[in-house]
C-alpha cells in the first residue's frame, strides 16, 4: 500500500474512516482501511517488537498478517466506539491475535496472507532504534501513536502548503519547528536564508502552526473511532488532560 500522507484521497468527514471501514461499500471500505493502516502500522509494528520481543522478520510478518486480516476479515465490525478508543481496541486485537497464533502454532501461515501491504519496515526499524523506550509496551504504543499522528500531520501540511503555493511557509516551519534544538536558527538567520523579512518569518510560522494545528486535528479524526474519542484526544493533545 502506498503511503497516503495527505489523507485527502479519503473524504474527511467526521469519523467517516471508522464508519466506512465498517460499511458495506467495498471501495469506501478499502480506502478507509488504507487510512487506518497508514495511521497505525508503525505503532503496531514497534509495539509487537517490544511487547512480544519478537525478531524483526516475525514482527514484519505479524504486522502484515494483522492488517491483512483487518482488510479481509470483519475485525472492525466488532468495534464499538462507545466502549473505548480505537487504538485500545486495535491493541487488544493485536494481543489476542498474537496469543492465538502462539497457541495454535499457526505462525507459519502468516506468509500466506492473501493481501500483501507495502510497508517500510526498514524505516520503522531505524525509528525503533532511534526512539527512547521507557515504561511499558502499552505506554510505548501510546507514545508511538502520538508520534505517528504528528508525523502524518506534518506530511499533510507539506502537501497542503505545496498545493497552495506556500512552500516557503512550510520550509520555514520545517527549519524552525522540526529542526534539532542545537541547530535551531534565529529568526534573522531564517530571514537571510529564505530572503524574506524577519517579520515574515513570524507571520509564516504563525500561519504554518495554525495550519499544522488543523492538520493534527484532521488526522486525529482519521485515527479515532468516535466524536467523543476525538474530543477527548483533542483535549489531551491540547494540554488539558496532559499528564
Amino acid at each position: 500500500m502506498a503511503p497516503n500522507p495527505q489523507g485527502d484521497a479519503f473524504p474527511l468527514t467526521r469519523h467517516s474512516v471508522v464508519a466506512a471501514a465498517q460499511g458495506r461499500d467495498p471501495e469506501e471500505r478499502s480506502r478507509a482501511m488504507d487510512a487506518i493502516t497508514n495511521s497505525y502500522w508503525r505503532p503496531v509494528y514497534k509495539y509487537v517488537r517490544l511487547r512480544w520481543r519478537v525478531e524483526r522478520e516475525d514482527a514484519e510478518d505479524f504486522t502484515q498478517d494483522f492488517f491483512s486480516r483487518l482488510l479481509e476479515k470483519d475485525f472492525l465490525a466488532s468495534y464499538d466506539p462507545a466502549k473505548g478508543k480505537l487504538r485500545t481496541f486495535l491493541r487488544t486485537c493485536i494481543d489476542r491475535l498474537f496469543m492465538n497464533q502462539l497457541r495454535d502454532a499457526h505462525r507459519q501461515k502468516r506468509g500466506e496472507a492473501a493481501v500483501h501491504i507495502s510497508l517500510d519496515f526498514e524505516e520503522a526499524e531505524h525509528e525503533l532504534a532511534a526512539s527512547t523506550q521507557n515504561g511499558s509496551a502499552e505506554d510505548y504504543f501510546e507514545k508511538e501513536w502520538v508520534r505517528t499522528l504528528f508525523a502524518l500531520a506534518v506530511e499533510r501540511l507539506r502537501v497542503q502548503c505545496h498545493a497552495a503555493g506556500k512552500t516557503t511557509q512550510f520550509a520555514v516551519f520545517e527549519r524552525y519547528d522540526l529542526g534539532d534544538e542545537d541547530s535551531r536558527p534565529s529568526y534573522d538567520a531564517l530571514a537571510d536564508e529564505f530572503r524574506i523579512a524577519s517579520t515574515d518569518v513570524t507571520n509564516y510560522l504563525v500561519f504554518a502552526r495554525r495550519e499544522f494545528r488543523r492538520c493534527v486535528l484532521a488526522q486525529l479524526h482519521d485515527m479515532t473511532g468516535s466524536d467523543e474519542e476525538f474530543q477527548r484526544e483533542a483535549r489531551a493533545l491540547l494540554g488539558v488532560e496532559a499528564k
Binding site: 527512547t132 519547528d177 495554525r210 494545528r213 476525538f230 483533542a234 494540554g239 496532559a242
Partner: protein, 357 residues
C-alpha cells in the same frame, strides 16, 4: 514520512497548546497553568505594554457548553467590580476558534501557601477579607461554587483576590434582603420553561436566568457538559455533592468558607495544641459546615462577623460558653484592667494587714 524524535514531538505538542493570538493585541509568553476548562497564559498586551493573563479554552472543537461557560465567567467577572475580584479587560474568540478572556495578571501566592507562615490571628483576619468580595458577589446574586484555598490569591501587598469564577452560578434575586442576605431564586431553563435545576445522566443543566442586572443581564446559561458534579471534593457542600443544583445558594459558598476556615486553623504537624483548637473557632467551622443548609450562617457577613467577634474577645453566635469559659474570656479580654484591680486589691490587703499591726 519523516521520523519525529521525542524532542520534536514534545515541541510540536507544546506549540499546539499555545493559543493562536494572531490578529490580537496579545503575545503569549508563558504557560501559567491549566485547569478543567483551559489554560492560563502570561501574555504581553502590545498596545498598553503591560503583562496580562489570558484564560483560553482548551480546544477549538470543545463543546459549545464550555465556550459559553468561559464566556459566562468573563461576563460574571466584568459585572463584579470589586477590589477583591480580578478585573477582566477583554473577551472573544481567537483565530484558532478558541474562546478566551483577558484579565489582570495577579502575582502572588495562593492562600494555602501564603497562610502557612502566618500566626493564627493574622490567618483569621485574612479569612475575614476573603468574605468581602464573596459578600459582594452574593449581593449581586452570584454563587462562586468552587471556593478553596487554591482559588484565593494573596498579592504582594497583602491584597486578597477570589479567583476562578468558572463554576459560578447566577441566581435571579427576586427578593434580596440586605439584612439577612437571603436570596430566593427563579430560574428558567434554556428552552424558556420555568424549572428548577436538574441533574440528568450526570450532566448538569444550568439555566437561563433572569438576573439582577436589568437590561444588562447576564447571558442565559446553557447546559454544562462536565459530566460530573461541579465543585472540588473536600470543599463541596452536601447539596452540591448530591448534584441538587436547585438547592444551591449562598449557603453553599458558606459551607466552602467553613472548609477554608478549617484549613486555616490547621497548625503544622508537631505543633502544640494552641488557640486554633479553641471551642468557639471549632464551633464557627461546624456551624458554617452544617449538613443542614438552614443550620449554617445565613450570610457570609454573619460568618465573618463571628470570626471578628472571636478576634475581639467577644462571645460568638455559634458557641454557647459556660461560666468558666466566659470568665476566662473576660479576663483574657480585659487583662490590663484585671491586673490593675488585682494589684489594687492586693495593695488594700497589704494595707489592712499592716495597719492592724
Amino acid at each position: 514520512m519523516k521520523f519525529l524524535p521525542d524532542q520534536i514531538v514534545a515541541r510540536l505538542q507544546t506549540g499546539m497548546q499555545t493559543p493562536d493570538l494572531s490578529g490580537t493585541r496579545y503575545r503569549a509568553l508563558e504557560l501559567l497553568g491549566h485547569g478543567g476548562m483551559g489554560t492560563v497564559w502570561l501574555a504581553q498586551d502590545s498596545i498598553l505594554q503591560r503583562p496580562v493573563a489570558l484564560k483560553v479554552l482548551a480546544a477549538e472543537n470543545s463543546s459549545a457548553d464550555l465556550a459559553a461557560r468561559l464566556m459566562q465567567e468573563a461576563v460574571v467577572l466584568a459585572r463584579l467590580e470589586h477590589p477583591g475580584i480580578v478585573p477582566v479587560h477583554d473577551a472573544g474568540t481567537l483565530a484558532d476558534g478558541r474562546t478566551f478572556y483577558c484579565m489582570k495578571l495577579v502575582e502572588g501566592q495562593t492562600l494555602d501557601h501564603y497562610a502557612r507562615k502566618l500566626p493564627l490571628r493574622e490567618r483569621l483576619r485574612l479569612f475575614q477579607r476573603i468574605a468581602e468580595p464573596l459578600a459582594f458577589a452574593h449581593s449581586r446574586g452570584i454563587i462562586h461554587r468552587d471556593l478553596k484555598p487554591a482559588n484565593v490569591m494573596v498579592g504582594p501587598f497583602g491584597e486578597v483576590l477570589v479567583m476562578d469564577w468558572g463554576l459560578a452560578k447566577v441566581m435571579a434575586a427576586t427578593s434580596a434582603s440586605s439584612a439577612t442576605g437571603q436570596v430566593s431564586e427563579h430560574v428558567t431553563d434554556a428552552t424558556g420553561l420555568s424549572s428548577t435545576g436538574t441533574q440528568v445522566s450526570g450532566h448538569e443543566f444550568t439555566r437561563a436566568v433572569q438576573g439582577p442586572f436589568g437590561s444588562g443581564a447576564l447571558a442565559p446559561e446553557n447546559s454544562t457538559a462536565h459530566g460530573t458534579v461541579l465543585g472540588t471534593p473536600g470543599y463541596m457542600a452536601p447539596e452540591q455533592e448530591r448534584g441538587e443544583v436547585n438547592l444551591i445558594d449562598q449557603r453553599t459558598d458558606i459551607f466552602a468558607m467553613g472548609s477554608i476556615l478549617q484549613s486555616l486553623l490547621q497548625e503544622p504537624p508537631g505543633s502544640p495544641e494552641g488557640e486554633s483548637y479553641s471551642r468557639p473557632l471549632r464551633a464557627i467551622c461546624a456551624k458554617a459546615m452544617s449538613a443542614e443548609m438552614s443550620a449554617r450562617y445565613a450570610s457570609v457577613q454573619e460568618l465573618a462577623a463571628d470570626v471578628g467577634r472571636y478576634l475581639d474577645g467577644l462571645p460568638v453566635s455559634a458557641y454557647r460558653e459556660n461560666i468558666f469559659e466566659r470568665t476566662a474570656r473576660l479576663v483574657s479580654r480585659n487583662r490590663v484592667a484585671v491586673v490593675l484591680v488585682l494589684a489594687y486589691l492586693f495593695m488594700r490587703l497589704l494595707f489592712i494587714l499592716f495597719s492592724r499591726r
